[in-house]
Amino acid sequence: MTASPHSDPEPVVRFDNVGMRYGRGPEILRDLSFDLPRGSFQFLTGPSGAGKTSLLKLIYLAAKPSRGLISCFGRDVATLPRDELPDLRRRIGVVFQEFRLLNHLSVFDNVSLPLRVAGKKRSEYAEDVAELLAWVGLGDKMSALPPTLSGGEQQRVAIARAVVGQPEILIADEPTGNVDPEMGMRLLRLFAELNKLGTTIVIATHDLQLVRMVDAPVMTLANGHLHIRPPRSQRQREAELREAERRDADDRPTATVPMGPEPSAQDAADDLDDEDPMDAVARAMEMPDEDDTDDGEDRDA
């Protein structure tokens, strides 16, 4: 479940020292190295402008890195021929912050787009699409055009479109930004459900409420760098382990350093900010060159 550097032999997505810049501008993403293991669930947070959307673009194959290696489903994207892109993209579902629905198509047509594009017949998917729309509470709006829907409804259309093709990885950019907390919960349950079925999930969000609800690693982007905080359960486990080791060490002062990441003063801070991943962001923002100050479990990725 961890989004730690290269722990999974066959991750869905692997970043290796990836940097990205637009044109000749400054690098907006620097030295990103992480895996999205198959079936994992993670949040991506960070202040606006930190490059979340760019990072997501790299994952959903809408942009190429300016350096480093990205492999997606085991394919190196740098050498990926254009005609193999569609096949990979069909395995990726994306919910855009601004939805990107086609305003001239009905809700039903918007949601069935990935299936239609994959060459499926309307009769094959009509029932499934209707069922999915009913599930997200849009059963009575199937023939409506997106501009006539509320923001929250459009968001649900976007989510339905992203998941209708049963992608192996689902990327959602602020998927709960426009819905009430109840619908937010419902959508989160949908994501969790998909995750249980084996879908890898990445949710970019500012909603800390949402982040707290799932015991999942949190990737935090700040100043182009990525920090990955392991899930709460793992940190608790590790803290308990360290506690035990400390007690052991007290008993036997000659004991060697335990396996795993070095415990440091930062760990304590980490445990303290358990409830608030934005602290890490705030910390990073206060210290532009934070590379050396942040180690321990908040690995520089």
Binding site: L113, P114, R116, V129
Partner: protein
């Protein structure tokens, strides 16, 4: 909510490429005009070829023997003799000696009636009709005939109208080349306009293209959308253009002076060629439009990623 699932909306799926009235209408007009002009050019080229064919066949299937009046010879008798000789030549169908009255009749339009003295010596003619096939390349027979007439001591000259026919053919050939070049240019212009429009509409609908790409659409799927759309546009403008070309052509052929020098005008002949040409125009326009749209879009898409 799960008990009674709503039914999927009835009816077909919406068009992925939204119609774009602001752009499509002028484009349709331009394409229709180009098809119209192309049809006129093709009909004109065809008409010129057809007309030249008629004229040259007529000219080349006959010879004229001219007997000049010479002192001490009976010109009338010479025409009779020349006609006899001509009839004896291979490939000759008929030879008709023309009398002095015929010669006078030919001069009447220029000199008026009865203005010529009766004793004025006039050159007389023999019309020689050739067998249709023999006409074209029987130059030997012509020199042969000339030699036979010379041997008789007549002041005769044989004219096979070849200078005239050459001139007519050259003019017709020029008109035809012009028509075909115009056709090629117009097709090129139409293809360029369509490619331009397809690119513009691709650029205008990046939202659709991006959404399709992110849903995993292949380039050929997207190119296919544009191809279909521009095929239909080509067919529609082709129909309108061809219809107007047919109307103009019919109008020209019913207007006065059908045998005038304007032989390159598209004259309605209602023969199979014209009908096939006009019938095929919408299809050809559709195919040209579809192909150039597809190539333009495909090359634009290739530039991405």
């Amino acid at each position: 909510m799960h008990d009674d699932l709503p039914r999927p909306p009835s009816g077909g799926s919406g068009r992925l490429l939204p119609p774009d009235a602001g752009r499509d209408r002028p484009l349709f007009l331009v394409a229709a005009i180009l098809v119209f002009l192309a049809c006129i050019a093709a009909l004109g080229a065809r008409g010129a070829w057809h007309q030249a064919q008629n004229w040259t066949t007529e000219l080349e299937s006959s010879l004229t023997i001219q007997i000049r009046p010479v002192d001490g010879r009976d010109t009338e008798a010479d025409t009779q003799r020349a006609a006899e000789i001509a009839r004896g030549m291979p490939g000759v169908q008929a030879a008709t000696p023309r009398t002095r009255e015929d010669a006078l009749a030919l001069l009447t339009p220029w000199l008026g009636e009865g203005n010529l003295p009766d004793d004025l010596p006039l050159p007389l003619m023999v019309d020689v009709e050739l067998e249709p096939r023999a006409a074209r390349d029987d130059r030997v027979a012509i020199s042969d005939l000339q030699a036979r007439l010379d041997a008789e001591g007549m002041a005769a000259s044989v004219d096979d109208h070849s200078r005239w026919a050459r001139a007519v053919r050259r003019a017709a050939g020029t008109a035809q080349t012009l028509g075909l070049s115009l056709l090629a240019l117009l097709t090129g212009a139409a293809a360029a306009v369509i490619a331009f429009a397809a690119r513009a509409s691709l650029a205008a609908r990046t939202d659709v293209i991006d959404a399709l790409h992110l849903c995993g659409a292949e380039d050929r799927f997207i190119a296919g959308l544009f191809q279909r759309r521009f095929f239909m546009l080509g067919v529609k403008s082709g129909l309108v253009g061809a219809l107007f070309a047919a109307l103009v052509s019919i109008g020209v052929s019913f207007s006065q002076s059908p045998a005038d020098m304007a032989f390159f005008l598209p004259r309605w002949a209602a023969n199979p060629f014209e009908l096939i040409l006009l019938g095929a125009a919408p299809l050809l326009a559709g195919l040209t439009s579809a192909l150039s749209a597809r190539l333009a879009v495909a090359s634009d898409l290739r530039g991405r990623w």
